[in-house]
């Protein structure tokens, strides 16, 4: 028995979203079970059924949560700053809309 991860698409063109996982002896039955778990109420238009062992798992904290300050890589400061600058510019222009 192997674990399979199931991704589902709710409507044509939408994103594939993780639905959950299931246990199956092989891919063929996994596809059948995926249909019953994530498609029997017509809630999906497409399923991706992936053997969990085929997934490249990336969870290394050194890679994803490095200890150095990374705030300069975030857009937050820039976006709050620019709102203020925009307000000041409007002020200078005399509120002329």
């Amino acid at each position: 028995m192997e674990v399979y991860e199931v991704f589902r698409q709710e409507k044509e063109g939408g994103p594939m979203v993780h639905g959950g996982s299931l246990l199956a002896p092989d891919g063929e039955l996994a596809a059948h079970y995926a249909r019953e778990f994530y498609g029997r109420r017509q809630e999906s238009v497409r399923l991706w059924v992936v053997r969990r062992s085929a997934i490249h798992d990336v969870a290394d904290p050194d890679l994803l949560q490095p200890p150095m300050d990374r705030s300069f890589k975030k857009p937050v400061g820039y976006s709050t700053g620019i709102k203020q600058k925009l307000a000041e510019a409007r002020e200078r222009a005399g509120g002329a809309e």
């Binding site: 028995m1 299931l22 246990l23 199956a24 002896p25 092989d26 891919g27 063929e28 039955l29 996994a30 596809a31 059948h32 079970y33 249909r35 019953e36 778990f37 029997r40 059924v49 053997r51």
Partner: protein, 303 residues
């Protein structure tokens, strides 16, 4: 895992789905009107056969809920069983339109002797291999029966059959997957499956035994192929799989080699008679008590 759908060999025969999208363009397009009494009775009998088949299969298979071999299969098999009960309901509704009798009374208000499912659907669920073998034999026989009704002149039936076929195709693929796995799954699963097939073959023939009014149904194009033809197709489609899986297939070719005579697969056991849908066993009488108990507690109640 293969990306394509993988029905058992031959499941892709039949008309393409697109051809079924516009069902019911036959001469009697407005339902029951236009049918003479004999034809209507013949149609009612056929609908009853099919509905009772589906209802009993649904009930027996639902008995695996909670105890199937693995959790995922438990959910899947129960869902398949629900599908069959849904098919039964839709068929009983067609029948009710025809006879004017309330649907619930048709489904649950008959005495045990009034049910007309094939002998194949009389057996209790047995072990897992038995349930799989029974369901596979039924689903494959039902598939050819549905093929013969897909182009029915009776529009309501053609329309329903188009929908049922889309579900049944997928049920069949599921059952095929299990047949292969049990047949190749080592000594015990294989032995259990072979025993079940051996036991079930004679009763499976009852599914495609012709109804009394078959001639009428053919004349009215309600049915587009005789049941004898359906049976041949069914057996011819199953023969290679049973050979490949080395499972019991108690049929032999007859009529081969004679000029102008088509070859036919005939059973090596005595041909079952028409009692295959009228004489029910104790398993069924028990099931009848179960499945009608609520209805009988207050006949005529609105649920």
């Amino acid at each position: 895992m293969s990306a394509q759908a993988h029905p058992w060999p031959g499941a892709e025969g039949g008309a393409p789905m697109s051809a079924l999208a516009t069902p019911g363009t036959g001469p009697t397009g407005t339902g029951a009107t236009g049918l003479d009494d004999d034809t209507r009775d013949a149609l009612a009998e056929l609908l009853l056969f099919m509905a009772d088949d589906e209802l009993m299969l649904g009930y027996w298979d639902s008995e695996w809920t909670g105890i199937a071999p693995l959790l995922e299969e438990d959910v899947a098999f129960s869902s398949l069983a629900q599908d069959e009960i849904g098919h039964a309901q839709a068929l009983y509704e067609l029948l009710a339109d025809l006879t004017g009798e309330p649907v619930d009374r048709i489904a649950y208000g008959r005495e045990a002797g009034g049910y007309r499912q094939a002998a194949l659907l009389d057996h209790a669920r047995g072990d897992w291999a038995f349930s799989i073998a029974r369901r596979f034999l039924y689903d494959t026989a039902d598939a050819v029966r549905l093929d013969a009704l897909a182009g029915s002149s009776y529009a309501p039936l053609a329309g329903l059959v188009a929908k049922m076929r889309r579900e049944e195709r997928y049920h069949l693929a599921h059952m095929h997957a299990w047949m292969v796995r049990l047949a190749r799954g080592g000594e015990e699963p294989r032995r259990r499956l072979a025993t079940a097939c051996e036991r079930l073959w004679p009763d499976a023939l009852a599914v495609l035994a012709p109804p009394a009014g078959e001639r009428r149904l053919l004349d009215a194009s309600i049915l587009t192929q005789p049941f004898a033809t359906c049976r041949q197709r069914w057996l011819e489609e199953l023969a290679p799989l049973f050979e490949e899986l080395r499972l019991p297939f108690p049929f032999r070719l007859a009529g081969a080699g004679l000029p102008g005579q088509p070859r036919r697969l005939e059973p090596t056991f005595p041909e079952p008679g028409p009692e295959g849908r009228t004489e029910h066993n104790d398993d069924f009488r028990w099931l009848w008590g179960e499945l009608t108990s609520v209805y009988r507690s207050e006949p005529g109640a609105t649920w």
